[in-house]
Symmetry: C2
Subunit: 354 residues, 2 copies
């Protein structure tokens, strides 16, 4: 297959949006940013053996390469619009490209994002995605606004992806519904797009968990000039994680495992009521979504992805701690004593210890 | 060095612009696109052994990784604003990163572009840059507007970079002023930013030459539904190329060699006067620049780069042919007979033959 045949395969699944004046096929894309909005831009790369295991399904690589970027947009409270894809491949493998784009476009279509440009080159397998979106001017969420007295929340559950990775690396078979549920969280992370947008004007700070809860909350603590205390027993765990891990392993995966792609955010006391109004979780009520549900249609691949299905519109969270004066992030046991971990989370170029 | 030490080294040279509301250091950048402008976005990757030779100076890799993207913006008539950098490195090598950023930021500063985000990961050496800029709505240059009767022009001179590459690959020493001048064109291509902007409203189509003159003009021919005839004797050559190559090699490098990063563009007869007004080349007059020269200050590294110096504001071109009815791109000799080439230009995934 030629480079141009390869580009044709990518373009076929690029998607469309009315704000794309010129998409793939020229020297650059021409795009319309709405008045009153700031452009939100981020870029994350994935390498084999670092961000995904050798032998990972191409569709899962495609999904994840976009998901990690959409998760960054979610953490800013941005709504996604466009992506550019830089794909380096050892050879022009039509099967890989088709599989990759099947996963990439399943998430892109669900999130309403169009692929507007990129580059394919020969080289070692490496994927870099730039995601672009919008946020109303001055309303984007950042890492720097947490203040002592704020509550700390996290979306979804923690630790599934890293527990799956540990099991696969240890050569354990990932059989049974619980093990498969963990693996699904690793293979197909869910960017919390609706939640991020709903938190504008509510959260004082936010970040997505890519390197591990403690490592990423450390960024909020440093940027905000505060300390953070977490309650170990409050960290949310999936039924699968509870079934597969003992307490020590579970807590380690929840606090320091990477690849959760949940949002962790802080909310001042005076805005807790506004947070509750977003999605009443008690009393069995139907969760309200502040974001337009039409922006987050169910993926056509949903049936393929099992229980941990695409839920870009999910608006659930758990209170896990509080912002305090001082610095650093501590996890406290039921007696209020700090729990020590060997590492805070994943860091590149240092053997994984941060 | 840790990942965060590495990021600090990148951030130190990121540059600033007043339209960057939030730069490196959060989950994404927040950027202000001016009213009335379209966002122009492109993404190009560089891999060792494909886009640069093993052993290339890190500063040259940094320069070129940005230059190839700015060249795409130039071909759209866009003015550059921001860049995101995805850098995959086998190890956190401070010397490499400092050298890379010295070259990257020399060009970024000269072009007035700010580095606003990116990603550093461990993996095989691979660099992907996303460049973002603006063009007044509806005035960007594309590949699709060439019409029979238009004249075809190219900026600068052709073939230097590919002649240098052939010599280095053949193990020839690149000594003497002429050989060094060729190598300089390969190591430090000059994106024709001022020319691209000046051509808005003048050129009917434009593209930058990355894969080779014939290959890239082929994109204009296809997108515009026209044919193109070039005059072999009109293709501009540097004094260095004339000194180093015989006629056959020179013509092959000019017509099919990659990495020139000159602009090739078409102009309708009724706008030739407007083109001439941009930069009177005859009569010894001082070239006029339509773009604001303050946007293209001389690089602080200019002394380091020798004769083929940074000239982002250069507004010179040569008429090389015409647009005709039909399809394809042909090079004609002085008798009007077509000259055959073994290949049109560089293509990935096919051994270089397009």
């Amino acid at each position: 297959m030629s480079e141009f045949g390869l580009i044709a395969r990518l373009t076929a699944r690029a998607g469309t949006r009315s704000d794309v004046a010129l998409g793939i096929g020229d020297d650059a894309a021409l795009l319309e940013v709405p008045a009153g909005e700031q452009l939100v831009a981020c870029c994350d790369a994935l390498n084999e053996g670092v961000h995904f295991l050798a032998g990972t399904e191409p569709a899962d690589i495609g999904w994840k390469s976009l998901a990690v970027n959409l998760s960054d947009l979610a953490a800013m409270g941005a709504r996604p619009a466009w992506a550019l894809l830089s794909l380096s491949l050892p050879r022009a493998d039509a099967g890989f490209v088709d599989g990759f784009m099947r996963g990439f476009s399943a998430l892109a279509d669900a999130a309403g994002i169009a692929l507007v440009g990129g580059d394919t080159t020969s080289g070692p397998l490496s994927i870099s995605v730039t995601a672009l979106g919008f946020a109303p001017r001055g309303l984007a969420l950042t890492r720097g606004g947490a203040r002592p007295g704020d509550s700390v929340f996290v979306s979804g559950t923690l630790g599934d992806a890293s527990a799956a990775l540990e099991r696969i690396r240890a050569g354990r078979a990932m059989e049974g519904a619980q093990a498969r549920a963990l693996a699904q969280r690793m293979r197909r992370p869910t960017p919390r797009l609706a939640l991020g947008q709903a938190l504008r004007g509510v959260a004082s700070a936010a970040i997505d968990i890519s390197d591990g809860l403690l490592a990423d909350l450390g960024h909020i603590a440093r940027a905000s000039g505060v300390g953070i205390e977490l309650d170990a027993d409050a960290l949310p765990a999936s039924a699968a994680l509870r079934a597969q891990c003992d307490r020590a392993e579970r807590l380690r995966c929840q606090a320091t495992g990477g690849d959760d792609y949940e949002l962790v955010f802080t909310v001042p006391a005076e805005r807790l009521e506004a947070l509750r109004a977003l999605a009443p979780q008690e009393a069995g009520g139907t969760p309200q979504t502040a974001a337009d549900p039409a922006r987050f249609p169910a993926s056509q691949e949903q049936g393929d992805r099992g229980a941990a299905s695409l839920d870009l519109g999910d608006l659930r969270w758990t209170r896990i701690g509080r912002v305090v004066a001082g610095e650093g992030v501590r996890v406290l046991d039921a007696c209020g004593a700090p729990i020590r971990f060997a590492r805070a989370g994943w860091e590149h170029f240092s053997g994984g210890a941060a």
